[in-house]
């Protein structure tokens, strides 16, 4: 036993030392590559978002490199783990911009992480594009209200989605009483809920109950029972599919048959598996992307992603893929690897078409895109309506 553990120790120490050595030696520069950083949630509670993003970015870079790269140079991805935590995101961002000298950064996905890290990339004048950070303050400074020069995003901002769903619920579904169930650990869900409520009331509706849950919760029956007692005829659950799937399933089991709706966090091939196809009937969500989208670029992306990773891309993967393409496009347009020039080129991108539709940035560095309302029918998504900004 003692010998075994000695060998084990030697092995571990060896690995660690080798790792350290590799870490130290990893700094040499290759002239013919362009380094792009990814500040992602590789470990911790949101690791599934980070891994989806990493997969999609790697796929995008591989495709670009196979076609000869950008301006004759190959793209190289440097991933830094932010442990799903805002302070660590700052740490990871500092590493990417000052240790690895990347020309641009993709990520993080969590709004709070992007906001904390943005001080670093803005002072280093390196562009950062966040695939799924929806908080308005990701690209706008909270104190001064000015647009941050080096922060962009590929997704909607919270107000837009909340407003769209409120309009859809009152105008198309004709409901008057709504209950809201919020993922209280996500500022994304809170933002959507807030704007949904404001606009729903403005359109003449009433909010009967407002409840919340936390990520990683699995049992919602207690909360749903409480909501059911207020008799709403519409339930808004802006959250991520892991929990929403269970919420829809459990709500139906409790006999809550009203329409249930949410935002783009719902978008995943896992959704029908978790909730069950029957339970998902009469549910709607706003999104900017659907894997069923029939554009060529999306079909190719979905096929390539499934081939590489054995599963359908979720919304994190799709938007990260677009973010990677946008960075590549900006580098190409800038004709330079100077971070400041890349950022200028990014601001000028006009009508770029990615898997989630066409992208043009407004003066707040948010993409101008149209939203779609998708409906689940027997486990499959179908396009209900399209709403322009």
């Amino acid at each position: 036993m003692k010998r075994v553990s000695k060998v084990l120790t030697a092995l571990v120490l060896g690995t660690v030392l080798a790792g350290l050595a590799a870490g130290c030696g990893g700094g040499e520069k290759k002239a013919d590559t362009i380094k792009v950083g990814a500040n992602l949630e590789m470990t911790g509670g949101s690791a599934s978002y980070g891994i989806s993003s990493k997969n999609a970015i790697e796929l995008a870079f591989k495709e670009i490199n196979e076609k000869g790269g950008i301006n004759g140079k190959q793209l190289e991805l440097v991933v830094a783990d932010n442990k799903s935590e805002a302070a660590e995101a700052t740490n990871a961002m500092q590493k990417l911009v000052s240790q690895d000298n990347v020309v641009a950064v993709i990520g993080p996905n969590l709004s709070s992480s992007v906001i904390a890290a943005s001080a670093i990339n803005n002072s280093a004048k390196v562009l950062d594009i966040a695939p799924m950070a929806t908080n308005p303050y990701v690209t706008v400074d909270q104190a001064s209200g000015k647009t941050k020069d080096f922060n962009y995003r590929t997704c909607f901002i919270d107000p837009f989605q909340g407003t769209v769903m409120a309009k859809f619920a009152t105008a198309e579904l004709g409901v008057g009483n709504a209950a809201v169930l919020i993922d209280n650990s996500s500022d994304y869900a809170k933002g959507l809920a807030q704007f949904f409520k404001e606009n729903f009331v403005k359109e003449g509706g009433a909010v009967t109950a407002e409840e919340s849950y936390l990520q990683k919760d699995t049992d919602f029956k207690a909360t749903l029972t409480k909501i059911k007692a207020t008799n709403p005829d519409f339930l808004y659950v802006p959250g991520y599919y892991q929990e929403v799937g269970l919420i829809v399933k459990q709500a139906r089991e409790l006999g809550m048959n009203m329409p249930i709706a949410g935002g783009d966090g719902w978008d995943s091939a896992k959704m029908p598996e978790i909730a069950g196809a029957a339970a998902l009937n009469n549910t709607y969500f706003s999104s900017l992307y659907s894997p069923e989208d029939s554009s060529d670029i999306n079909k190719n992306f979905v096929a390539a992603y499934e081939k590489a990773y054995g599963q359908k891309p979720d919304v994190f993967a799709a938007l990260s893929y677009d973010s990677a393409l946008l960075v590549a496009e900006a580098i190409k347009n800038a004709g330079s690897t100077e971070p400041a020039k890349i950022s200028e080129a990014m601001a000028k991108i006009n009508g770029f078409s990615g898997v989630s539709g066409s992208v043009t940035f407004d003066d707040k560095h948010n993409p101008v895109k149209s939203a779609v309302i998708l409906e689940y029918k027997d486990g499959a998504q179908s396009l209900k309506t399209k709403i322009n900004p």
């Binding site: 470990t43 509670g45 690791a47 936390l214 919760d217 049992d219 029972t225 892991q242 006999g255 978790i274």
Partner: protein
């Protein structure tokens, strides 16, 4: 809200709480047994529960097992895993300071979580429905067949466990070791074997909990054991750590409290309430609900 609907809600929350609590109880049983024998807070126990869920997932999706063989398969695999973990990580530390073993347990917990993440990716997996989820209406109350299965399985497992601990030779040995390890050794009991058996039993129960959760929520992921692990430990302490009926009752109480707090206050305060109750119980009855207060002797 009128009285009738309040009562109805209360009963519904009670049903929800008991089904959740019986899962806590299954995990808490393993915790309490291991603590009783080794005086070790096995932080990796929640991850054994996760491991069990994945074994069940493999059994149902890859081997196409139905419910009963799948849960037995998962329990057997987890028992082996428990024995291996004890053998490699805990046995060499029998005489080490307890805090060092605790750190090792935290290390094992990380290793299991992130090892699984590497193997199975952090994406949640959806558990296939091994039996249909029928919904029964008892007046205004709603019960689903999965809740019934969870409760029945938990009760059967606890009965089996009670039988093993009370009436078999190995069970007697377990009780002897947890009462006084040195005296048990002098009586010719092979302590290492008893500890292995305890880990095997505890892990098997946790795995059963994992499979049941997988079926009930049909979503499993590598970090799913973190929070239930801590909660189950709270349940074990609540009932009186080291005491088997205590773990069952503690688990059920915790589940019901959580359901009531979510139902009548707010689900975001659910965990705070669970810990709050724990602290209050500890302050007034430090040995837990079922525990006897033992005065420390010089």
């Amino acid at each position: 809200m009128d009285m009738g609907s309040l009562l109805h809600q209360f009963l519904q929350q009670l049903i929800n709480g008991i089904s959740l609590g019986s899962i806590y109880a299954l995990i808490a049983l393993g915790y309490t047994m291991i603590y009783g024998i080794l005086k070790l807070i096995n932080f990796a126990h929640g991850d054994i529960y996760m491991l069990g869920a994945y074994f069940g997932f493999v059994a149902t999706t890859m081997f196409g097992f139905s419910f009963l063989p799948a849960i037995l398969f998962a329990m057997a695999c987890a028992a082996v895993a428990g024995i291996i973990i004890e053998r490699i990580a805990y046995r060499p530390m029998r005489n080490a300071p307890r805090i060092a073993i605790l750190i090792t347990a935290i290390g094992v917990s990380f290793l299991l979580e992130y090892g699984m993440m590497l193997i199975a990716t952090p994406q949640p997996r959806t558990f296939p429905a091994v039996f249909s989820a029928d919904v029964y209406h008892l007046g205004p109350l709603v019960v689903n067949s999965q809740q019934v299965v969870i409760l029945v399985s938990a009760i059967i497992l606890m009965a089996v466990l009670t039988y093993i601990v009370q009436y078999t030779k190995i069970g007697k040995a377990m009780r002897a070791v947890s009462f006084d390890a040195d005296a048990a050794r002098l009586m010719g009991i092979n302590i290492d074997r008893v500890i292995s058996a305890t880990f095997a039993l505890g892990s098997a129960l946790a795995a059963a909990g994992g499979v049941l959760v997988g079926i009930y929520y049909n979503s499993i992921d590598p970090l799913m054991g973190m929070v239930p692990g801590i909660k189950a430990f709270v349940a074990a302490v609540l009932g009186g750590i080291g005491i088997i009926p205590g773990a069952m009752v503690g688990g059920i109480i915790l589940g019901v409290v959580e359901a009531m707090v979510s139902g009548f206050i707010s689900s975001t305060f659910r965990d705070a309430a669970a810990f709050g109750i724990l602290i209050i119980i500890l302050l007034y009855k430090p040995a837990g609900i079922f525990g006897k207060n033992v005065r420390e002797k010089v």
